[in-house]
Amino acid sequence: MRIRRLAAILGTAAIVFAGCSATPGASGGGGSQAAGGGCTVGMSWNNYQEERWAKWDEPAIKKAIEDGGGTYIANDAKSSAETQATNVENLINQGAKVVIILAEDDVAIKPSVAKAIGEGIPVIAYDRLIEDPGVLYITFDNIEVGRMQAREIFKLVPKGNYAIIKGNEADANARFLRDGYEEIIGDAVKSGDIVIKGETFTDGWKPENAQTNMEQILTSSNNEIDAVLSENDGMAGGVVQALDAQGMAGIPVSGQDGDQAALNRVALGTQTVSVWKDARELGKAAGDAAIALCSNKDVKAVKDTAEFTTPGGNKVSSILLAPLPILQNNLNEVVDAGWITKDALCQGVTDTSKVPACQ
């Protein structure tokens, strides 16, 4: 009885959920088999519920694949590593000849990847690394993102007290970014010019956790913080709120992703830099590479690839795109690209003399 009831409810919940959310590519069910001829490319999202994937990445990937004569199918693992393993197999069963994976967990996905490669299906690791020498790794250069953030902050505060707000500990990107910081400020830390007053990982990259952590760092250092290296924009939002509560908003703060709220903060001057990775370029690169892999399965033969040594010591073929640091003086780049409207960017900006994009 109870089990049947449970099943009924879960079923209903699933229907409601599916009905309400535009499931990636609206093709989770497998109704859209390749129309014949073209090559089917499967995309496995780890968590579609993030601002950028649906809005920017997916349309670019889909377009590149369809322009190349292929068919795009996709599914979403909803932040579950186990679901993602099943999803990858589903994509292959649905006829995918190339699989693109945005990995929830860079290690847990390895068996599925090895299996796919074993079956002669090339795998593209999208934006997040997968520790398998056979994959094609396409991403923005995350160490470079870290360097860019640190460079802009270091320019403004070559000497002083830093706080470092890192992302989720289980995410390799959090470590890459920190490595990038080290390359820029490492020497200054050794010489004592820069003192790191607080450094913490942030569960799930959550802004509210970053806010609480920042409050505690300010408390323990008695507000003696001159600059904050925050690994992304969401957390920078929490950091700026914590600073604002102490009347300290305006000290240099870094971020990345080009979130609308963050770009607005750059215009307002409460955040120094948001390193912008144009997701459309990334999507296009992945889509083009997938089409190339349809005809030639050798991941090293895809153009513009270079060898990348992973933290796990694997050498993988990779395409690393260069990100763009967005500062107060080049905000026009994001407006011109149609990434954000001028109204949203300039909301609340009263002094436009320093913000050319708002004039």
């Binding site: 109870r2 009831r5 449970l6 409810i9 879960l10 209903t12 919940a13 409601v16 959920f17 309400c20 959310s21 535009a22 519920q49 993030e50 601002e51 950028r52 994937w53 649906a54 809005k55 500990e169 607080g198 450094e199 913490t200 990982f201 942030t202 569960d203 799930g204 990259w205 959550k206 802004p207 509210e208 956790n209 806010q211 609480t212 952590n213 409050e215 505690q216 760092i217 408390t219 323990s220 507000n223 924009d233 969401g234 939002g237 929490g238 709120q241 604002d244 509560a245 102490q246 009347g247 300290m248 979130d259 609308q260 709220a261 607005n264 909301q347 609340g348």
Partner: protein, 439 residues
Amino acid sequence: MSEATAVPTTAPSREPSTGRARSVLQSFELDTRLLGMIVALAIIWLGFNIISGGLFLTPRNLWNLSVQSATVAIMATGMVLIIVSRNIDLSIGSVLGLTGMFMAMIQAEWIPKTFGLGFDQPWTWIVTIAAGVALGALIGGFQGFVIAYVGVPSFIVTLGGLLVWRGLSFQLAQGQTIAPLDTTFQLLGGGPKGSLGANLSWLVGGIACLGIGYSLIAGRRRRRKYGFPTRPLGIDIVIGVVGVAIALGAVAVANAYPWPPQLASQYAAENGITEPAGGLIIPTGIANPVLIALAVTAVMTLVATRRRFGRYVFAIGGNPDAANLAGINTKRTILMTFVIMGVLSAIGGVVLSARLNAATVSLGTQSELYVIAAAVIGGTSFAGGIGTIPGAVLGAVVTQSLQSGMVLLRVDSPIQDIVVGIVLVAAVGFDTVIRRRST
């Protein structure tokens, strides 16, 4: 808070009357569990204070702690009623997220842009909160209906809710972070500007003292009226004095935290005040989220212990069949507990989004775990029928103390999770053993 030290909601008669000392202690009718928690909290605070070299017990850190605990405390008061009546609500983090996102859309998108009425209207925050709370009540009512009238277990309904409401929250803003929020609304999230200042804080302290006095006197009068033995007068006086001291002490601590110097100078400059030599000292006082949490605690304690509805909830938890046979409308009562939970989740959404000055897709994820932990650490039993509102609020303060203290000591997040998890199980285990021994 101290109101309930005087009026325990758990039946003290459960404890046996062996030994003279125990029976004397029993005649005091103190909630030993609540006392135990206060002692545990004191140990945690002193421990952190020593390890951190005196950083923990500063007005500033205690003030931070009070604000950081507020959201979980607000929701934990509702979770007590849910768990006491043998249900569970796993959806509250998602309800918080959805209502928070809904309110952010109202104040940052729909009112100013869609209707073209502009930002920062004086009435924006009221409309926003009314709509958000209504949505919370509606969601809670819907889940409560399915649970109470359709008969689907609450675990399943709210597990579904956890997925559905979070998904809807994503749909609402297409995954975007909505910020900045209305300037008046932001004040509900705390910060020096979102606090009461010295005078109003003392006023709140004064009201708390009157409340403590009144509840003690009314309690004695009521007992005499029905011919119950009253507590020794001396004990009531001690309880009253301690309660008043805690209330006024808390206000004094909140007022001892001055506005940050940078903010005070800005304020002085904006208002044309010449700064004195040592800088302008503005007492911060009780933060708005804390005021909200206190008000919610007081109301919920009243509802749980002094209203028929609260009695019904505890009766249902104690024995659902007996409650039903006694003529209690159990279905309606269960439905109402979920409506209350929905409303409290929406209030949690107000505080959390106002504090962050943004609504994100991840707003409130996993808060259901912290809320349930707070209620359970605070002595709410999954067997039903047992639990107190002030206990749950203390539970929220305990968990947040552990987390904030560890950040202060630079302990990283995975270790924090480990510690909180162990404390959760240890607290309940300890409690269970003590209980078993005493019966």
